[in-house]
Amino acid sequence: MEYFIQQLFTALGYGSALAVLAAGYTMTFGIIGLVNFAHGEVFMIGALAAYFIIQVAMLPFWAGIIAALAGSVIIALMIERVAFKPVRGVGMITLFITSLGASTVLRNTTILLFNDRLKKFPRPNFLEGAYKLGNLFIYKRIVFVVLITILICIMLVFLVKKTKIGIAMRSISYNINIAQTLGINTEMVIIIVFMISASLAGISGLFWGILFGSVQASMGALPVVYAFIASILGGVGNVLGAIIGGYIIAIGSSLLVAYLPLDLVGFKPLFAWVIFFALLIIKPSGLFRANIK
């Protein structure tokens, strides 16, 4: 029983990173129908930016947070300008291919410039250690990450449901032409969505570094796929759904691994894919309502 709970805690940490990443993913997915594989590289660059500022430039932790946000937003806006805007309106598959292209270019350029070795991510002192509850270790870093994710979740849901710009986003996702006739500057709203999405990716990258202690150039390749699956699980465009989806994938695959016989442990990544296929076959619109954000 204790083993189960301990595993659950670890999964909560991992899940928080996925949840926040997925929330950002589903926003661009929901609004402009963009399946953005370059999101993984935005995540990676956020993490790497924080790494460079804290570890290399020896600046304090809060500077690393700013670096993560700034790095991810800047790179996301660049990607949008170069790879997405010119082909907008052409079709989801083309956008998907360009995002794949952008992702490949960014990942490999980063590998070229900074190599793909693991870089030790400095954990700030206040996040070291754990609380002890009986025989259980409640790691401070996991508590931190989960709390921030809950905070982000509340903020996002409020943004989407209660603010004017949230309504603008949702109307654009339904019918962009009519939204324009209401006076909504769709161009600007889309840029804002990108910026929010990128910030979330940057925060997720920061979480990753804090939780796992290391970052590398290719770290974005797999998480983005899980973020994608989590988005579909939660209903495309549904931020709360994506967050829950992220936790489901993390907790599900961690628990699966914890209880599988040892030689089948390598099959952990398959959990997410089995869920994905099951989802596509049974309920492609996701567990929650799609398009409603």
Partner: protein, 352 residues
């Protein structure tokens, strides 16, 4: 004196074939090293690009999962071509001796690889076929990861992450380009046949095709079967060219490169697939010394790993922005097209 145009069909084909065989013979005799490798890679890439053209270009079901299919075919063929000593020492299969000792020649190995690949391909794709457009596309993303994970976690069968070595170097110019030429021929005939036109109809408007009486499930499955067979052949040829096989051999990087080939060349066109394969293969081979790093007159040029992939990605984005249909679009090169093109250029010259 009859002109070339007036000769009847079979004779034209025979002349063409003899011509091609002569070129292959010349290549075989005189090429080696860098150029030989280039031509062989080109051939394999042509096969892979054509296989992807059928699914992504013709029936319009964009698959990025062919890597998994290639992996299945390659491992299947590998079992039969790898020396028995390797199988005994490294793998841990509870199979009777006669099965472990088997080591067959290339042709049956190719067939087995192709068939296994096709079975996997069809099996994997069937549940995803009812999905549309990009949902399908992302479903196929899983194929690669699923197959690679399976391969990595069955070390008794596949030697896990360490992979298999000691492959006999079967892929020479005759095998590679012989098969490539056959694949090209079949595809061109296919495109003009009823089946091929059904494929393209499905690609243009699935619902309309259904209303015209085309059995969607049947034709989509056939398309994937053919495509998987070609892809698996490509995988087997590849493995016997570079002489090793490991679970991540046909990952997203390779698939992405093949996607780039058909996008550049034009997704619906066989000629486009060939042209795209040529361009990317050339890039890759020319850039490979840069990827590994080398010494030039005493100065070290650092290893730029991933350079090819980066440039392919850039090229892909550029093509998608500026000429979305690719070089050939959906058209093929034919003598008629060339003749019309020449005629147009001539008349334009006269007016000027």
């Amino acid at each position: 004196m009859t002109s070339y145009k007036e000769l009847n069909r079979p004779i034209k084909y025979i002349i063409g074939l003899v011509f091609l065989l002569a070129i292959l013979y010349l290549f075989d005799s005189f090429l080696n090293g860098f150029w030989l490798m280039l031509v062989l890679m080109f051939g394999v890439n042509v096969i892979l690009a054509i296989s992807l053209t059928i699914t992504n270009g013709w029936i319009g079901f964009f698959s990025i999962g062919h890597g998994g299919i290639m992996l299945a075919g390659a491992y299947a063929a590998a079992f039969f071509t790898v020396p028995p000593s390797l199988k005994r020492d490294i793998l841990d299969l509870n199979l009777p001796s006669f099965m472990l000792d088997v080591q067959i020649s290339f042709f049956p190995a190719l067939l087995i690889g192709g068939i296994i690949g096709t079975i996997f391909g069809v099996f994997l794709v069937l549940p995803a076929l009812r999905l549309r457009g990009f949902y399908f596309c992302t479903g196929t993303l899983g194929f690669n990861i699923i197959m690679a994970t399976i391969a990595e976690n069955l070390p008794n069968v596949t030697n896990g992450a360490m992979g298999l070595r000691e492959f006999p170097a079967y892929s020479n110019i005759w095998w590679v380009w012989g098969i490539a030429i056959v694949v090209i021929y079949i595809s061109i005939r296919l495109k003009k046949s009823y089946i091929g036109r059904a494929f393209i109809a499905i690609g243009k408007d699935q619902d309309l095709a259904e209303h015209m009486g085309i059995n969607l499930l049947k034709y989509k499955t056939i398309a994937f079967a053919i495509s998987s067979f070609f892809a698996a052949l490509g995988g087997v040829l590849w493995v016997h060219l570079i002489l090793n096989l490991f679970p991540n051999a046909f990952g997203l990087i390779l698939v992405f490169e093949v996607v780039t080939m058909i996008v550049i060349g034009g997704m619906g066109s066989i000629t486009g697939a060939v042209i795209g394969a040529a361009i990317i293969t050339f890039f890759a081979e020319v850039l490979s010394p840069f990827e590994e790093g080398f010494y030039l007159m005493g100065i070290e040029v650092p290893s730029l790993l991933g350079l090819t992939t980066v440039l392919s990605g850039v090229l892909l984005i550029v093509v998608l922005i500026f000429k979305r249909e690719g070089i050939m679009g959906e058209k093929e090169i034919s003598l008629n097209n060339l003749r019309n093109l020449l005629k147009r250029k001539q008349s334009e010259g006269k007016i000027l």
